[in-house]
Structures are given as C-alpha cells and as structure tokens.
C-alpha cells in the first residue's frame, strides 16, 4: 500500500516538475521576445499559419498601420512582413512590425494575394504542388 502511495507521489512530483519546466520555458520565451522588441524598437505581431487544401493562409494582427505601408516579401519557403506601427499606447509608441515566417510547405510566389482589414493582414498563397498523377485501380 505504502509503495503504491510513494509511486503515486513520484508521478505527481514528476508532473509538477514538467509543468514547472514548461512554465519556465514559456517565461524565457516572453522575456526574450520582449527584450528583442525593446532593443530593436520592433514589434512581433501575433500571427497564424494554416494549411487549407492547396492553399496556405497566413494572418497577422497588425493594428496601427495602413495597407499602403505594409511591405511583404515572399520566397518559396518564407514570408517577410514589415510595416510601421503608429501607436498612442505608452511603452509601444512609434515602432515597426517585423515578422519573418519560415513556411511549412513551398509556395508558388506568382500566386499570392494579400488584404488588410480591421488591423488584420491576411496572405493567401497557393502551395507548390510537385509530383505525378496516380490512377486509382
């Protein structure tokens, strides 16, 4: 009975240790992110990358800029976004959005479109499809 209890305690302690380690890693990530933002005067926007069928969709939350000022460079496997950010928020002030994303799949650079609406940038790219057609028997 007591050995079962000590095993249970060991498992619980291990879970707590792992949770603590994850929290520390998370905190380290935030510290580094904020440190870089302050040092370089840049802002890393919140962003998402989704795959949907033969498309790759990237969205980034970039309030305080305009579509004319957003600079997007697209490579086969990366997207680079830069834009000024004008913010009345103290601590942010005038800054610059910089976002480099390494894409999970290669895209066709000729088939990319972007729009900016209510502070959110959306880029839709067609995936580069390589391969041969197989007939189902």
């Amino acid at each position: 009975m007591s050995s079962r209890r000590s095993l249970w305690k060991y498992i619980l302690d291990e879970f707590r240790r792992i949770e603590q380690e994850l929290r520390s890693m998370e905190e380290e990530f935030y510290i580094k992110l904020k440190g870089v933002e302050v040092m370089r005067g840049c802002i890393t926007p919140l962003y998402n990358v989704y795959e949907s069928g033969d498309e790759l969709i990237i969205t980034a939350d970039m309030p305080g800029t305009s579509k004319e000022e957003i600079d997007i460079t697209v490579g086969e496997d990366y997207v680079k976004i830069e834009a000024p950010c004008r913010s009345p928020v103290r601590k942010i002030g005038e800054g610059k959005y910089i976002l480099h994303i390494r894409l999970p799949v290669e895209i066709d650079q000729e088939n990319v479109k972007a729009r900016y609406k209510e502070g959110v940038l959306e880029i839709i790219a067609r995936k580069k499809m390589k391969g041969v057609k197989i007939k189902v028997e």
Binding site: L46, N48, Y50, D61, G64, I92, G119, E122
Partner: protein, 251 residues
C-alpha cells in the same frame, strides 16, 4: 485548519438584491475582457472586492500608483463585474467557477453572465459578428432569447471557466447565461466585444454607446497584445481549440 484554495474578499460587505454578476475572464479574442472592462469604465463601476488565492501568480498590478489585485470585482447598483488581468490558471478553473457560483447564490444574485468569443476562422469576412446565447436553465434562456437578433447556441464545446460556470450552474439549477460572439481566436477582437455589449445593453436596458470602443479598437488591440499572447498559451491548456469542433456523439 485547512485554508480554502480560493477566496472572494469583499472590501466592504456587498449588500443588495437582484444582482447580475458579469464575468469577462480572458479567452477567445479577449471578447469578455474587453466588453467587461469597457462596461465597468463607462458605467463608472467601483471596485468592491477581489479574488485571493495562493495559486495565482505572485504579481501585483499598478495603475496610477495604485496597487491592484489581479482579479477584481466592480459594482454599480445591481451590476457586478469580475475583471481579470491574467488568464485563469488551469488549477484554478474549477475551484474559481464553483466559488463564484456559491458566492453569487449567497448574494441572492439573479444570474451570472459569462461573456466570451466564439472562434470563427472566417472572422475576416464578417462585418457584424453574430451573438449566440446558452442558458443553464430554461427560464434564463427564454429571457435571453427575447432580444431580437440573438441566436441560441445549440451544438459545440465550451472549454475553460465559461464552460465550468454554465455546467455547475445547470447542476444547481442556478441561472447562468453564456453570451458568445463570433471572434478571432487568438487576436484581440473589440468589434466582437462591441456586439456583446450591444446585446447586453438591450437585455438589461442599459444605456451604452459602443462607438468609442470601436474608434479606439486599434489602440486596444495593441494594448492587449501581450495578454492575448499569454491567453493563447492558457487556452491550449484547456483544449480551447475544441470549440472549433462539433460534439462527436449523437447522445
């Protein structure tokens, strides 16, 4: 003597009747957070209490030189609002939801109202987000559906503290109302919060102008970026992405 994991501390005894307890804890699109804090500011609600727990991170918030707790309670008349500056830690979700319900019952509150966003992947294509409601009892749902334009939430998952509040209230036959508005999953969404506020103003006959909220949307989004980032992390802990799925069984 064992100490309770969580306590609701009243700065002065809160007395009154017919209380409506609104909670806007951070989650999808920070809709609840934005809506509740805007409501508290515009109605000039006053801080009347806070939540105390050893499970909360050892942080104090400082505003204009004033030291503030992380989870605070505000009041104006029969309206009360829980506002949190941090996502609710996983270990606190169940005890806090139960504590809020017990506290609301002890105050003879009329109902608890949870405000939240409903994750909508195509949010960018939606100009005016739809508002949905889920009631813990038939009577609260009937009251909630009297407002024109609102729809009943029928199928899906509700993860995190909002789901726990509505489930526990259902078990206790206590009135709890969940108000959801289509929103960006992990970007602050003031446009969605505005729709929740418009709905609340009609439901409770509150005079509230949301145009200043929409005008300052970009500033708000920037201000809330860090909270959103931390909330997105916390949402993973409660499998919030389940809200994008449909229930897997018929019964």
């Amino acid at each position: 003597m064992s100490r309770e994991i969580i306590e609701i501390v009243e700065l002065e005894p809160i007395v009154g009747e017919d209380f409506i307890v609104i909670e806007g804890f951070p989650d999808v699109g920070l809709v609840g957070t934005i809506a509740t804090s805007y409501l508290a500011e515009k109605l000039e609600m006053v801080e009347v209490g806070y939540v105390e727990s050893d499970e909360l991170p050892p942080i104090v918030s400082v505003r204009n030189g004033k030291i503030l707790d992380l989870i605070r309670i505000y009041r104006k008349g029969n309206l009360m609002a829980f506002i949190s500056e941090i996502p609710i830690p996983l270990t606190l979700i169940k005890p806090l939801s139960q504590k809020i319900i017990e506290w609301a019952i002890s105050k003879k509150a009329r109902m608890i109202v949870s405000l939240t966003g409903m994750p909508e992947p195509a949010r960018l294509n939606i100009d005016i987000p739809k508002v949905y409601v889920l009631g813990s009892t038939k009577r609260v749902l009937e009251e909630a559906l009297k407002v024109e334009g609102v729809e009943k939430f029928t199928d899906g998952y509700i993860a995190g503290i909002k789901g726990m509040i509505v489930k526990e209230s259902f078990r206790r036959n206590f009135d709890a109302l969940l108000v959801l508005s289509q929103a960006h999953f992990n970007y602050p969404d003031p446009g969605s919060a505005a729709q929740v506020l418009i709905y609340l103003s009609k439901l409770f006959s509150i005079t509230l102008d949301v145009s200043p909220l929409l005008e300052s949307a970009e500033e708000l989004k920037l201000r809330l970026r860090d909270l959103m980032r931390r909330t997105a992390q916390a949402m993973q802990d409660v499998q919030k992405s389940r809200e994008l799925e449909l229930p897997a069984v018929y019964l």
